[in-house]
């Protein structure tokens, strides 16, 4: 067997390739982006695509599955929020070709707006979830997920976290299965979820849940590693690796299938160890489950619920290791190195003007969110993809037309296409007067210059129709649409002043290519 060093995300792509995946879709988002990039770069037989957002991507993948192909969606944790509407009902329809959803959580919020723990989605949507702890397992589990999906007629979620997605390790390369379409059969009782169909499908979901629980007990994805029985630790994902590192003598119940959880294995383990611990990142998901089975493990009372775990955090919690180092610490204060807009970044010109005019700024997700920090300090709200324009509407509804003259919404080109269009329609429809600045740098820049519908290029590198943002804004009912180069600072400032004063909605397309883009 050949071994290769791979990033966790590359290993996920490899697993999908080995499983005979034929279609893959997603939207870029750290720490998941490299999954589809790797598919597109290395496995050209798979039709890989960026979709405008994660919900569209999941629907594409569901369609491919129903049509008979093995298919994979990839997204970051907050992306699954966007796709959640589809997710919950795809649980009822089930699959034809194996359907796998790769979800990348970001404990520590290295590059995210929150630290949500998406294991809860598996339980809430009643879907099986695998939780690899290394790049090699990321490959294996992704490959297995397609088989599980077809065997149990369930979409399967593979949940990775930042330290699995963005760590490298030796990965075994196995022979790929031949990609093969299954026949497509019309089956409205399975694929058309009117209430009369949904009710019996719910029964099916619950039946499958029982079978999956049995699978969870016996498949080997969850396994006990017996060692000294004085200490027993239940753990999953990257935390398993930290436990192996700092507690080499403990017995371990390794959870690789985090939903459904294996009751019998958990009981067998808990009944045979003296001191019981659960070591998991983020929420007490396994811990609460273990408590419901009647055990009293030590978990979140000693393991932090916030932030990512590290080997030393686990070492301190379980072994009471006293932190400390013989190397002295530097006495002075070190300058910070917060992420910042690049020198010459087109967003910089925009935010200099917004700062000078002392405007309130409803922001959005992208590089430009960094304008909240000095030296610009020119962003005042920001929640999630596409939220800024809707909040802009709310600002005007709450404080009126005069107030909105001192306020703008800013949103990047990719983010606008992702989820800014519906709120722009809302702004016009509900008779607002606000100004929206689309920061068009011709790329999904923050995640590494991925293409999107308005760049005129696909993930596979093909030319395609270039979505015209100006026409689109006009079609939403905005009559005042101006396209300006922000580097022409004087003109840009004049246009902003004119548009915020206008007694009707306006869109300014601030057009300049990302400085890093060739």
């Amino acid at each position: 067997m050949h071994k290769k060093i791979m990033l966790g995300n590359e290993a996920v792509a490899r697993g999908a390739y080995e499983a005979g995946c034929m279609v893959a879709a997603g939207y870029p988002g750290t720490p998941s982006t490299e999954i589809l990039e790797s598919v597109a770069a290395n496995y050209r037989g798979i039709k890989a695509q960026w979709s405008p957002n994660e919900k569209v991507a999941l629907d594409v993948v569901a369609g491919a599955s129903v049509a008979g192909a093995r298919a994979m969606a990839a997204m970051k944790h907050v992306g699954l929020n966007v796709a959640a509407d589809s997710l919950f009902t795809l649980s009822y329809t089930g699959v034809n070709g194996g359907m796998v959803i790769v979800n990348a959580d970001d404990p520590g919020a290295w590059s995210s707006q929150n630290e949500q723990d998406n294991r809860h989605y598996a339980r809430a949507a009643k879907l099986p979830m695998l939780d690899p702890s290394s790049p090699e397992e990321a490959r294996q589990f992704t490959r297995m997920a397609f088989d599980i999906s077809e065997q149990f007629d369930r979409p399967v979620i593979v949940r990775i976290t930042t330290r699995v997605a963005h760590s490298q390790g030796a990965v075994n390369l196995e022979e790929p299965k031949k990609a093969k379409l299954k026949p497509f059969e019309r089956n409205p009782k399975k694929y058309v979820m009117i209430p009369a169909h949904a009710r019996p499908r719910h029964l099916f979901v619950e039946e499958q849940a029982k079978k999956l629980k049995e699978y969870s007990e016996t498949s080997g994805l969850n396994r006990i590693e017996w060692n000294s029985r004085s200490t027993g630790i239940i753990t999953n994902g990257i935390a398993y690796q930290y436990v192996k590192e700092v507690c080499p003598d403990a017995s371990i119940l390794k959870i690789g299938m985090v939903w459904p959880l294996p009751d019998k294995l958990i009981c067998e383990f808990c009944n045979n160890v003296d001191e019981l611990y659960v070591v998991e990142e983020l929420d007490p998901f396994i811990e609460d489950y273990t408590r419901a089975l009647g055990y009293k493990p030590r978990g979140k009372e000693i393991i932090p619920i916030c932030g990512e775990l590290t080997p030393e955090i686990v070492d301190m919690a379980i072994n009471q290791k006293v932190p400390g180092n013989k190397i002295p610490s530097y006495y002075g204060k070190l300058p910070g190195r917060p992420p910042a807009l690049c020198k010459g970044c087109p967003h910089g010109y925009v935010f200099n003007v917004l700062k000078k005019l002392d405007l309130n700024v409803n922001g959005d997700i992208g590089c430009y969110t960094l304008a909240v920090l000095p030296p610009y300090s020119a962003m005042h709200t920001q929640t999630c993809m596409g939220a800024g324009i809707g909040m802009h509407v709310g600002f005007e509804k709450a404080r009126g037309e005069d107030f909105i003259k001192k306020t703008v919404a800013v949103i990047g080109d990719s983010t606008f296409v992702h989820s800014g269009i519906a709120p722009l329609i809302d702004l016009v429809y509900n008779k607002c007067h606000g100004t929206v600045i689309i920061l068009d740098n011709r790329a999904t820049a923050m995640t590494g210059h991925q293409d999107h519908p308005a760049t005129g290029r696909t993930l596979m590198g093909e030319e395609t129709h270039e979505l015209d943002l100006e026409l689109l804004a006009k079609a939403c009912g905005v009559r005042r649409v101006r396209k300006v180069d922000p580097k022409d600072v004087e003109t840009f400032e004049r246009v902003v002043k004119e548009e915020i004063e206008a007694k009707e909605p306006s869109v300014i397309i601030s057009l300049r290519k990302c400085i890093l883009k060739r």
Binding site: S134, S167, Q168, G169, Y330, L334, G336
Partner: protein, 202 residues
């Protein structure tokens, strides 16, 4: 950490210095030598002009991709402040290799924060196993500031048990083809420059 056959190395620098590629080359060398190997890095927002680090661990079996604090055998810092920032990862007898370079953060350039002036003398006084290296000459000789990561590896290579050829093989496998020759040249120059004299450079 209980295992004694493990080697833990941290590369530290700022975005654009090629920190991650240095880690990747070391991983390849270790893998080719038959070790299990793991690495951890950070992408995305944290990478935009921010501090970048990369942990590489190799040994018989590697579990955690992260080095534990106080567990690094080597810290290879591409500039002064990032060296200081990582000090709590250094083992008591671990070695600190520092490029004699100050990369000023945006907030320092804007006059909002200060870059400490005494880092080099402080390191010499307080970190007994520290090595400060000059990379400017070599980078000038190969006419590329982008080879800094390979130059730092050239210094590190003198401490590790891998032979020079295996480093060269890994560089060939890892860097873009048109840069292979320049990078091999950069590696060779720093390897020779520092061979056998690293410890007296302090």
């Amino acid at each position: 950490m209980v295992k004694h056959d493990m080697t833990n190395i941290i590369f530290a620098g700022v975005g654009g210095q090629g920190v991650l590629l240095a880690g990747k080359i070391l991983m390849q060398v270790a893998l080719d030598a038959g070790y299990d190997v793991k690495e951890s890095e950070v992408h995305g927002m944290a990478q935009r002009g921010g501090s970048v680090d990369c942990h590489v661990r190799y040994g018989d079996t590697v579990y955690s991709p992260l080095v534990e604090k106080g567990g690094a055998d080597y810290i290879v810092a591409f500039e002064y402040v990032e060296a200081i920032r990582k000090l709590d990862y250094l083992k008591e007898d671990g070695k600190l290799i520092v490029n004699r370079l100050a990369v000023k953060p945006v907030l320092v350039e804007a006059g909002l924060e200060e870059y400490p002036q005494d880092v080099e003398s402080w390191i010499k006084e307080n970190v007994k196993n520290s090595v400060l290296i000059d990379t400017k000459d070599v980078l000038k000789e190969v006419k590329s500031s982008r080879a800094l990561n390979i130059v730092m590896l050239g210094a590190l290579a003198n401490y590790l048990a891998f032979d020079k050829e295996s480093w060269e093989e890994a560089i060939k496998k890892t860097v873009k083809e048109k840069f292979v020759e320049m990078n091999l040249n950069a590696f060779d120059r720093m390897f020779k420059k520092t061979a056998g004299q690293l410890d007296i450079m302090v």
